[in-house]
Amino acid sequence: MRRRLLLLGPAFGWWAVFLVLPVALVMVYSVFHRGTYGGVVPTFTLDNFARALNPLYLRVLLFSLRVAVITTVISLLIGYPAAYVIATLPRRWRTPVLVLVIMPFWTSLLIRTYAWIVLLSPKGLINNGLAGLGLIDGPLPLLYNEFAIILGLVYGYLPLMILPIYSSIERLHPELREASSDLGATPFRTFLRVTLPLTLPGIAAGCIFVFVPSLGNFIVPDLLGGGLSIMVGNLIQGQFLKARDWPFGAVLSLALIALMGVLLFAQAWLLERSRKQAIDG
């Protein structure tokens, strides 16, 4: 018992004080009135929740959801084949190639997002190149719109889609696919009926890893979206640092946490179900 406390105590103690308490505080703040210069006045109200349903803010929430969903779908479509290629390479090549693909993720998102400003801006590399080739007359509107945000998010989080899908494909026994094709299935049918269902847990994990940070993102919409409060991450930032309406910012944060909780729960359920199927089937 003492050993357990010594080993786990520091980590869980740190998280209790600097993660659980702060998030609990956000929950409490969400039902308080706002203070004049930030902070809260500790009197109960549910107005902050009602405000989140105001069309003005609801639109921001829906736009964030839409961007996150599109980002996730595109990342899946691009990432799955890439993960498949890595997982079917000769064994000694897999780890180095995987590191090559994951590495950009470990460098600053701020800097990687900045790189896209250089590429997409009206005087950026892409517009400049196209104009130089005589393909366009004026610069294309590539920056400060939904397209730029989605591009930036896919760029930022694609490695997080590839990693879990790679491990789920890599764990598949090649015999399963061989059996399917020996029994006369076309490669496409084998993929659809064998590989895809068995890698569903990897797909689910990848989708969550991309969806969650995309939904609450601040940097990418801030730099590539034109700096408006267009996604919920920017809205939260604004409520805390500009509008000084902490209770409303707290409500928006809770919405993010709740959604994340639901997704993780759904993933655990999916994982459990596929494990059961593997045993029954």
Partner: protein, 262 residues
């Protein structure tokens, strides 16, 4: 199989495009950092002027020093706590619930952690204790997520560990602490160092949480953010190149250590 060659070729082409997509923007910025004009419009000649101008920017250098302080202290604290946690999870408790709790600090949206900590700091540190927010509050925040990353890396290492040598040490009369220090720790050391390097990289690059919890101090990412936000200057290309170099080196070394035995 109908035509195995074609499907394979299309897949490989797709993969090549993905790698290009991931690396081209980085390559462009690195290239531009050496462009005399600093602009993507034309190549006017090779120059190191932008690097010289970065080195001459005192505000940036101060912010960089702050980030090093935050990174080193965060890494030391998170590596100790995270290693203990990894040993505990592998040896002392077996619960999938606790296992998944460890992932929460890794995937909680950083903006949420940022505002939660800002609220907490304001109430407890500024409000009750009359302390100023600064680098130390950024360190506390970075330790929160770094513990989890260190624990995950160290745990992988522990899983490949032959426990009979620990038992041998105990049989020969060493106590638990001595066994841990003399046997376990040296064996898992590459994992601990790999976890520490990863923790440093994450702290070095972290922006949003620092942005909210830094008080009046500046870290390197918050300083770079304001440079980007208030007009792109070619200096940022040189900074970006430097940041890529630091991160990639640290991650490669970390990867190498992790992969050296398994």
């Amino acid at each position: 199989m109908a035509n195995p060659g074609w499907g394979r070729r299309i897949l490989r082409a797709e993969f090549a495009l993905v790698v290009a997509f991931l690396y081209l923007p980085i390559a462009v910025v690195i290239g531009l950092s050496f462009n005399e004009s600093g602009l993507p419009t034309a190549w006017t000649g090779f120059s190191l002027d932008w690097y010289a101008s970065v080195v001459g920017n005192q505000g940036l250098l101060d912010a960089f020093r702050n980030t090093l302080v935050v990174g080193v202290v965060t890494t030391v604290v998170a590596t100790v706590i995270g290693t203990l946690l990894a040993v505990g999870l592998e040896r002392a408790v077996h619960s999938s619930l606790i296992d998944s709790v460890v992932y929460v600090p890794m995937i909680i949206p950083d903006i949420v952690l940022a505002i939660a900590l800002l609220s907490f700091y304001n109430l407890v540190f500024s409000g009750l204790l009359h302390l100023q927010l600064g680098l130390w509050t950024v360190i506390i925040a970075h330790v929160v997520f770094d513990i989890a990353f260190v624990a995950v890396v160290v745990r992988t290492r522990l899983r490949h560990f032959d426990r009979s040598i620990e038992e041998a040490s105990m049989d020969l009369g060493a106590n638990e602490l001595r066994t841990f220090l003399k046997i376990t720790l040296p064996v898992i050391a590459p994992g601990v160092i790999a976890g520490g390097l990863l923790a440093f990289t994450l702290s070095f690059d972290e922006f949003i949480i620092a942005f909210f919890t830094k008080g009046t101090a500046e870290t390197f990412p918050t300083k770079v953010y304001s440079m980007i936000r208030f007009g792109v200057t070619p200096e940022v290309n040189a900074i970006a190149t430097f940041v890529f170099l630091v991160s990639i080196t640290l991650v490669l070394v970390s990867q190498r250590l992790r992969g050296s035995e398994a």
